[in-house]
């Protein structure tokens, strides 16, 4: 019956309204769930371009080189990032250097723009170096061990996800123009690094 199906609508709406009237605590700051540090670490990575962009460049570059290179970066980068972070969490706090950030932008953006044909070993070493450097700087700023370790795990998880998505996206690109577009993005990253180097030099 037509009337039967439509007559249920107010009941559903009433039920939905009743549920909406009794909301659970929002837990926006996640103190009570214990998930706060995970999200802190995760969002720290996604909101820090000095960490995010070099990782993106490395992921795109290894993706361009092929699946085996992407897989290597996928596991080496997060694991060394975690190691560097754990080492950094025992050291005193340091701020990331703008010069160092600009060098990573220049190097990784340049390698991506040039689609540099480096060996798997060199790429592995480079990924490990990126992970250790950035992880160490992140670790020094995350406070005392404990919550910092959980935050670091969230951060490493974000690195893993970004490398997985970006490298996998590029690996499957076959059209020449699409691969060139990825390399153009590398040139933009390198150019941003050059400008950042200028800002760092200006600040002295």
């Amino acid at each position: 019956m037509k009337g039967l199906a439509t007559s249920r609508l107010p009941i559903y709406a009433l039920g939905g309204l009743a549920v909406a009237m009794f909301p659970a605590p929002a837990e926006a700051h996640l103190n009570s769930t214990g998930m706060g540090p995970i999200y802190d670490g995760l969002m720290h990575f996604f909101l820090s371009p000095e960490d995010l962009v070099p990782v993106l460049a490395l992921a795109l570059w290894t993706g361009l080189r092929g699946a085996s290179y992407g897989r290597r970066a996928l596991f080496v980068l997060p694991s060394t990032w975690l190691l560097g972070g754990l080492l950094g969490s025992t050291a005193s706090a340091t701020n990331g250097s703008a010069v160092l950030s600009s060098i990573w932008f220049l190097l990784l953006g340049g390698l991506l723009a040039a689609d540099a044909q480096l060996s798997l070993r060199v790429i592995t070493a480079l990924a490990a170096l990126v992970g250790m450097c950035h992880g160490y700087v992140n670790g020094t700023g995350m406070g005392p061990p404990g919550a910092a370790t959980v935050a670091l795990l969230g951060l490493v998880l974000a690195v893993f996800v970004l490398v997985a998505i970006a490298a996998a996206f590029v690996v499957r690109l076959r059209a020449e123009w699409a691969r060139i577009a990825v390399r153009v993005a590398g040139s933009w990253i390198a150019a941003s690094g050059l400008l950042l180097l200028g800002w760092a030099a200006r600040r002295g």
Partner: protein
């Protein structure tokens, strides 16, 4: 009471017959199964309302503004816009590999110009150089000049230094240099991409004429800015 047969089973809502006006059948405004979509829609809405997200209202100092300032910078001056679009137009006219090599060369060398400015290295005649870039790049498009790739890249790169130097030092106080730089470079790249997009009309005969006309407009703009710089 028994409704008309629908073929979808007795449990589902029945389709509303479309009204007939002036002998012409008018379709319903909503699809026949809109009732079925309504309930999942309401449920999704309620679920979203209940799923409270963290606000992230406090971005780091100057970050959002830094990117937008940088992004707006190259597109805020018509002289820069003309030259950068002309690079894309010329690349599209020349075809591969110039179509991607020129737009890669320009931001890279422009960043060198910006870096030189930030380091305090002076460059004379910046305004003339920018105006000349619009004149010559526009003329290259207008006359469909086809020099060797190295010459084209050198010409584009040489002018990019002037553009980068002019923009490089203008970071508003309190904003992130990195995000400003990224926005600045991305906007430049987007202007090149716009030029390349327009330049795709080159495959048609009328498109070739249109591109040459666009080159003439760029050259005219360059002459105007040179006149302004000299005045």
């Amino acid at each position: 009471m028994k409704g008309p047969a629908t073929g979808v089973g007795s449990a589902g809502p029945l389709p509303v017959p479309a009204p007939v006006a002036s002998g012409k059948r008018i379709g319903p405004l909503l699809p026949a199964n809109s009732d079925r979509l309504l309930l999942p829609g309401i449920a999704t809405l309620v679920f979203l309302l209940l799923s409270v997200q963290t606000a992230f209202a406090h971005v780091q100092n100057g970050e959002a503004a830094g990117f937008l300032s940088g992004f707006r910078h190259p597109i805020s001056g018509l002289d820069h816009v003309l030259a950068m679009v002309a690079v894309g137009l010329w690349g599209a006219q020349l075809g591969a590999p110039a179509i991607w090599l020129l737009p890669v060369t320009f931001p890279m060398v422009m960043a060198v110009g910006g870096m030189l400015a930030l380091m305090g290295v002076g460059l004379p005649g910046i305004e003339y150089g920018i105006a000349a870039s619009a004149i010559l790049l526009g003329a290259a498009v207008m006359f469909e000049v086809r020099p060797p790739l190295v010459v084209a890249a050198t010409l584009v790169g040489g002018f990019a230094i002037f553009h980068g130097h002019a923009h490089g030092t203008e970071l508003p106080p309190g904003q992130s240099p990195l995000l400003y730089s990224m926005g600045f470079v991305m906007a430049t790249g987007c202007l090149h991409a716009a030029g390349i997009g327009i330049g795709t009309v080159h495959r048609w005969a009328w498109g070739k004429k249109l591109l040459r006309l666009a080159g003439a407009v760029v050259t005219g703009g360059g002459v105007f800015f040179l006149w302004k710089a000299l005045a």
